[in-house]
């Protein structure tokens, strides 16, 4: 039987005796269902804005405080210090300050609003396949089994852990963030200051943010100090000058040391291709045994920096703005006829339907 001899028949036009009559079936099928996007049914604890274009952790942490501090300090700088310094020093000061300020804000928003490298959870078929493999090769001496898999990376034995939430073996350097309830690739840490996890995709934004922020705070601190020094020289004394800009000075003084320290720490991490998570746990420091070195490091500072900061930008794996397939978005059981997806299915529809028609025609002619 060859389907090519028959014409395509619309399956929805055919009588289907297998269906039981539904209450108002015609109304339900004709009702237009607005297609839902995948971010609306995302299982992790994240918040989405602008129809899935922007994402953050559910609890924003102290992100508003971060933005507030930067805005307040910079505004005070532009209002109080710039006019004086432009008059007494140079016009470049507000220009440099402005560039640094814009740079800091852009990188902060990119760190906060970008997908850090979240791994989508395993589909039910995948999870069943993994379970089957664990049962086949599982170690019966452990109950319940710790569920680890060992792989060899650059002659180092790495243990991959099974994630019970995401139902998959975590790739190397991936960790499950309990605050966001997601597995994140190359997980660094969850930063409350930016209100998001820092992982593979947004680490370069985070690093650029803290480096530019340390430049900005150091710059403002320097300008404020110069301003005070010049005013104190002017004759009224240091104490009087201090009274004029206490807030700015306080914020800058305390943040300069902490931000500079953080930048220095992350520069060390970038140069040795480590994550904060690995450094804190001491995964490669040799505590657990001899000869344990970082298998991901290229043994060259320059190459490490380039591979962390200048590698091609990986894509987002969670496809936030994609549309859900129609049968997944429907809450009720699938009573609609699915549009045929493959060619051989079309052939079968056509053959079956046509043979029914042939039978009906021949039987009526026989009468």
């Amino acid at each position: 039987m060859n389907s090519r001899d028959y014409q395509q028949i619309d399956p929805q036009a055919l009588p289907t005796p297998a269906h039981s009559p539904l209450p108002h079936p015609a109304d339900r099928r004709q009702e237009p269902r607005t297609p839902r996007r995948k971010w609306e049914v995302f299982p992790g604890k994240n918040r989405f804005f602008c129809d899935g274009r922007i994402m953050m952790a559910r609890g924003c942490g102290v992100f508003p405080l971060t933005v507030g501090l930067i805005l307040v300090t910079s505004t005070l700088f532009f209002i109080f210090d710039c006019p004086f310094l432009v008059k007494h020093l140079t016009r470049c000061i507000p220009a440099i300050g402005g560039v640094l300020f814009v740079f800091v804000l852009i990188t902060l928003f990119q760190t906060s609003f970008t997908d850090p490298g979240i791994l989508p959870r395993a589909t039910p078929d995948e999870a069943a396949d993994v379970e089957r493999q664990i049962d086949d090769t599982g170690n019966t001496s452990y109950r319940p089994p710790p569920r680890t898999k060992e792989v060899l990376i650059n002659q180092q034995v790495i243990k991959l852990k099974y994630c019970f939430t995401c139902k998959m073996f975590r790739p190397p350097r991936t960790s499950h963030c309990s605050l966001c309830d997601n597995c994140v690739e190359r997980f660094d840490h969850h930063c409350p200051w930016v209100g998001n996890c820092v992982g593979k995709r947004n680490y370069r934004f985070f690093y650029t943010f803290i480096v530019s922020l340390s430049f900005l705070t150091a710059f403002i601190f320097g300008c404020v100090t110069t301003h005070l020094a010049l005013r104190a020289q002017g004759g009224k004394g240091l104490v009087f000058a201090l009274q004029e800009s206490p807030v700015e000075l306080a914020i800058c003084f305390f943040s300069v040391w902490s931000i500079l320290g953080l930048s220095g720490f992350h520069t060390y991490l970038v140069a040795s291709n480590l994550t904060t998570n690995e450094d804190i746990k001491g995964s490669w420091s040799g505590k657990s045994g001899d000869g344990v070195t970082n298998p991901y490091s290229q043994k060259n500072i320059f190459i490490n920096c380039c591979s962390v900061l200048c590698a091609p930008m990986p894509p987002s794996l969670i496809d936030r703005r994609g549309f859900l397939p129609p049968n997944e978005s429907a809450q009720t059981s699938d009573a609609d006829i699915e549009p045929p997806r493959l060619n051989h299915k079309n052939e079968m529809n056509v053959v079956g339907a046509s043979l029914h028609l042939v039978l009906i025609v021949t039987l009526t002619n026989l009468k």
Partner: protein, 158 residues
């Protein structure tokens, strides 16, 4: 004329009469095979090339290995560290990464190439054998999913 047609068609008609139209429209998936990632070279995207036993009856080992090797090479090209990626990275850094909002990254270009390659392989090699390769990007680059469809050839009436 009619009687002849009835006698020729009757066996086929009876055969198909047992299937309701609903069954014929559903995809006849018999099983799915998952090719896992190969982490022996680190965290780069690479899939195992070991031939799964479930596909032995449908596909040549050599064809499968060729498909997987080409996929691995394409992913390696996407993640390659070279002069071009460094330039892209430095330029992006200078513009505070705003160029990522405007232009397509190197990785995304290669992903499109991979999608075209998988579609091509499905049309030429896998679909005629009742198999379907799913693009790994739809599974978060965790697995290559191969769906095995039931072998319901229509020629059973002859």
């Amino acid at each position: 004329m009619f009687l002849a047609r009835v006698f020729i068609n009757l066996p086929n008609v009876l055969l198909f009469q047992t299937h309701s139209l609903q069954d014929l429209q559903q995809p006849a998936v018999s099983s799915k095979v998952f090719i896992q990632r190969d982490y022996s070279s680190g965290t780069i995207c690479k899939f195992q090339t070991k031939f799964p036993s479930e596909l032995e009856s449908r596909l040549d080992k050599q064809q499968f290995e060729e498909t997987m090797q080409t996929l691995n090479n394409l992913y390696a090209e996407a993640e390659k560290l070279g002069g071009k990626s460094y330039l892209e990275g430095c330029l992006a850094c200078l513009t505070a990464y705003t160029i990522f909002l405007c232009m397509e990254t190197h990785y995304e270009k290669v992903l499109k190439k991979i999608a075209r390659y998988i579609k091509d392989q499905n049309e030429k090699i896998y679909a005629p054998r009742g198999l379907l390769l799913t693009d790994p990007i739809e599974r978060g680059l965790r697995v290559v999913e191969i769906t095995i469809f039931e072998d319901r050839t229509i020629s059973s009436g002859r």
